[in-house]
């Protein structure tokens, strides 16, 4: 599965970032391969916003298509409030 197919509110693990340049940038943002992030928002046909702790990163749609992810079954003791707008 690729990042652009993630659903809003879904908790996902980043499994692969093919571009080395993007990998270097992402790791400094705190998003490395193996990192668990929340898909916070998806701008229709636009960027995907992922969150890790208090920090949010917008990732352009074309870039999100190249990043592979896998869904993480949320742990029961971790209460991630479902955001409703």
């Amino acid at each position: 599965m690729n990042l652009d197919q993630a659903k809003k509110g879904q908790v996902i693990r980043i499994t692969g970032i093919p571009s080395e340049l993007i990998r270097v940038q992402a790791i400094r943002f705190g998003i490395s391969e193996g990192a668990v992030v929340t898909c916070r928002e998806i701008v229709p046909a636009g960027p995907v916003i992922v969150a890790k702790n208090k920090q949010e990163i917008a990732i352009g749609r074309s870039l999100a298509k190249t990043i592979t992810v896998e869904p993480v079954v949320p742990k029961l003791n971790r209460k991630e409030p479902v955001r409703s707008l």
């Binding site: 080395e20 340049l21 993007i22 990998r23 270097v24 940038q25 992402a26 790791i27 400094r28 943002f29 705190g30 490395s32 928002e41 701008v43 229709p44 046909a45 636009g46 960027p47 916003i49 890790k52 702790n53 208090k54 920090q55 949010e56 990163i57 917008a58 990732i59 352009g60 749609r61 074309s62 870039l63 209460k79 409030p81 955001r83 707008l85």
Partner: protein
């Protein structure tokens, strides 16, 4: 390092360097340390600002905000060079996302520079429901002094000053030290680390092969940063504040676009109306009524008013008149207004959200979302908008944005003339004009996006929390940037004014007018006097306005004039800025391509409209249809061309 900084350090003075991620409040801490004695200049060979200030007998140097030093951008190379020359590094980190910022902190520690960590925005962290477990634990883990600050509220600044000189090298893993020690010694410890991490420039400078272990070093550092953050920060509660909800509204098209238009309207009112019209009228009026006459009287004591020297110094395009009036009377208020708006947008955290919102729309033009800012500002003043293209990530995007700005975006002065002319022509022509300009922008952007080598740089930006910016900080920032701009622009404008007065003194200006006649009369089918509008309009945009309305022209002719004027580069100031930002060669190319296209399109439109006059009342609708069809045809053609070219690559 450049000699500029070295020259300003008193004997025995230390270089205190501020380093940190973007949006952590570095500039606030910089202002708090240095006070009023700040010098802003360019990093050699770049367009990036460098702020330098005094602290006691030492010098404080600000660096561009970066997420780490990996030679990914011009900013990172500059930050690297300044940090390598530092005696003390003040690493400013954002307490709200310590986990992210610690990556850079750990890189600095691995470099072995004496440093102190200022954990800024500690007040915001508390509001966000985070509890930083006392700086002591962090000091223990990192091995460097840590100070909690909330610089906007001046909290912790005194403590930072007290501890500044206790900066020391931090704790580095033995395994890392072993790796660093394997790099031959002519490179210092810090440079050795960067070479190990694959820094090409430094490796070449020392003739050492760059390391290939960047990925694994970064992974280890990332894990350590995350672990330290989880040890130090405790989340006490989870809250969704109003500001974070507003932040989401800004991103979603359904609420984001209305919010964006509201903001744009406010920006237009402030820059396009308040600064560009109201303030400029006062400042320019002052220069015309007091400064220029006073100067001429003064010069008149030494040179007769009609002498060559007087014309060059204080004539209509005089070096001392045009330059100063333009810079102080016209540009300074505009620059100040636009830098104020930009600083507000930057400091509130709205800018990256706008970029995210429009990323999809702009990707068709070969730009990423961040290009929206200069394009919007262009409707206020193309000159300033060209400067803000510095925000864009790649040179290719800067090139596309500047071309679009100079070609298709009418500035506020042009807009005013356009409004006045079309008020007399009726709504149908206004519609035709709008469709013309929009399709020209779309077609040009799409073609540039497709055929310039490279692609839109992928969007990956941090969305910082929304916050109310500090007024003082915004004004300081805007003032420093404006001051630097004027300082840099001065020689350019003086040169331009000198060139124009030379033309006038030698009588070439009149010759130029005659030279243009074949183009205007034979090609554009306009009256001969219109040449003045183009020449004078280029020199001073408002000169052209009145004469357009005074000339007795047919609606079609008026339309052709307005279209051609919009497509040419707005004014001499914009031209100079394009040359300054893009260099002489590319500036000249951009400028001549735009002028050729403008007159080509103007002439074609004139001929087509004349041909369509057969349809009498359907003349304008027929033209509209043709334009839209042409646009669709060109877009489809370019898509076919690129998809055919792209196919073999995919196989």
């Amino acid at each position: 390092m450049n000699g500029g900084i070295e020259g300003k350090i008193p004997a025995g003075g230390k270089k205190i360097v501020l380093a940190g991620n973007p949006n952590v409040g570095k500039s606030v801490i910089f202002n708090a340390l240095t006070g009023l004695y700040v010098d802003v200049s360019n990093y050699p060979g770049t367009t990036l600002d460098m702020a330098c200030g005094r602290y006691g007998s030492d010098v404080v140097i600000d660096t561009p905000g970066v997420y780490g030093i990996s030679s990914l951008s011009e900013e990172e190379n500059i930050a690297r060079d300044i940090i390598l020359a530092a005696d003390i590094v003040v690493n400013v980190a954002n307490a709200v996302h310590l986990e992210q910022d610690l990556f850079f902190t750990l890189q600095l520690i691995d470099m072995g520079v004496p440093m102190i960590l200022a954990l800024n925005m500690s007040d915001e962290a508390v509001r966000e429901g985070l509890d930083i477990d006392g700086p002591l634990l962090l000091e223990e883990l990192l091995g460097v002094p840590v100070v909690l600050t909330a610089a906007v509220r001046s909290t912790g600044i005194e403590e930072l000053k007290n501890k500044l000189y206790s900066a020391r090298k931090g704790r580095v893993e033995q395994s890392m030290l072993n790796k660093i020690n394997k790099i031959p010694s002519p490179a210092g410890r810090a440079e050795a680390l960067l070479i190990l991490e694959g820094d090409v420039e430094l490796s070449e400078a020392h003739g050492i092969k760059p390391g290939t272990e960047r990925d694994s070093i970064y992974s280890v550092r990332r894990e350590k940063a995350s672990w330290i953050a989880s040890e130090v920060v405790k989340e006490t509660r989870k809250g969704v504040s109003f500001s974070s909800r507003l932040g989401y509204w800004m991103l979603l098209p359904i609420t984001g676009f209305p919010l964006l238009f509201l903001t744009l309207w406010a920006v237009y009112e402030m820059v396009g109306v308040f600064f560009a019209q109201y303030v400029v009228e006062i400042t320019e009026g002052f220069m015309h009524e007091y400064y220029e006459p006073a100067l001429r009287v003064m010069l008149g004591q030494y040179f007769p008013p009609d002498s060559v020297v007087s014309t060059i110094l204080a004539g209509e395009y005089g070096v001392l008149t045009l330059t100063v009036t333009y810079l102080i009377g016209l540009l300074l208020p505009l620059v100040l207004g636009i830098f104020l708006v930009l600083s507000i947008l930057e400091d509130t955290g709205y800018l990256p959200r706008i970029a995210t919102l429009v990323d999809r729309t702009l990707s068709g033009l070969g730009l990423n979302g961040q290009a929206i800012i200069p394009l919007i500002l262009g409707f206020g003043c193309v000159t300033m908008a060209c400067i803000t293209t510095r925000l864009l990530g790649s040179d290719r995007e800067r090139r596309i944005a500047i071309f679009l700005l100079a070609f298709g975006v009418p500035c506020s002065a042009q807009m005013a003339i356009i409004m006045a002319v079309f008020a007399g022509l009726g709504p149908l022509y206004m519609l035709l004009y709008a469709v013309c300009i929009c399709s020209i922008l779309i077609v040009t952007g799409t073609l540039l996006g497709r055929f310039l080598p490279g692609g839109a740089s992928p969007l990956m930006i941090e969305l910082p929390p929304l916050r109310l910016p500090g007024l003082k900080n915004i004004f300081t920032k805007a003032w420093l940037r404006s001051y630097q701009f004027i300082k840099e622009a001065f020689p350019l404008f003086a040169g331009g004014a000198l060139f124009l007065s030379m033309l006038e003194v030698t009588g070439l200006l009149g010759g130029l007018r005659n030279l243009m006649v074949p183009l205007t009369v034979r090609w554009l089918h306009l009256p001969a006097e219109i040449a003045d509008v183009f020449i004078m309009g280029f020199i001073r945009k408002e000169f052209g306005a009145a004469s357009i309305l005074n000339l007795n022209m047919l609606p079609v002719q008026l339309f052709v004039v307005m279209l051609t004027l919009t497509l040419t580069v707005p004014c001499i100031a914009a031209t100079m800025v394009i040359f300054k930002e893009r260099g002489w060669r590319e500036g000249l190319l951009t400028w001549s391509v735009i002028y050729t296209l403008a007159f080509l399109i103007g002439g074609l439109t004139a001929r087509l409209l004349e041909a369509f006059s057969l349809f009498s009342s359907m003349q304008v609708p027929a033209m509209l249809g043709l334009i839209i069809l042409t646009m669709a045809f060109i877009l489809a053609l370019s898509r076919m061309y690129t998809s055919r070219r792209a196919k073999p690559l995919k196989l």
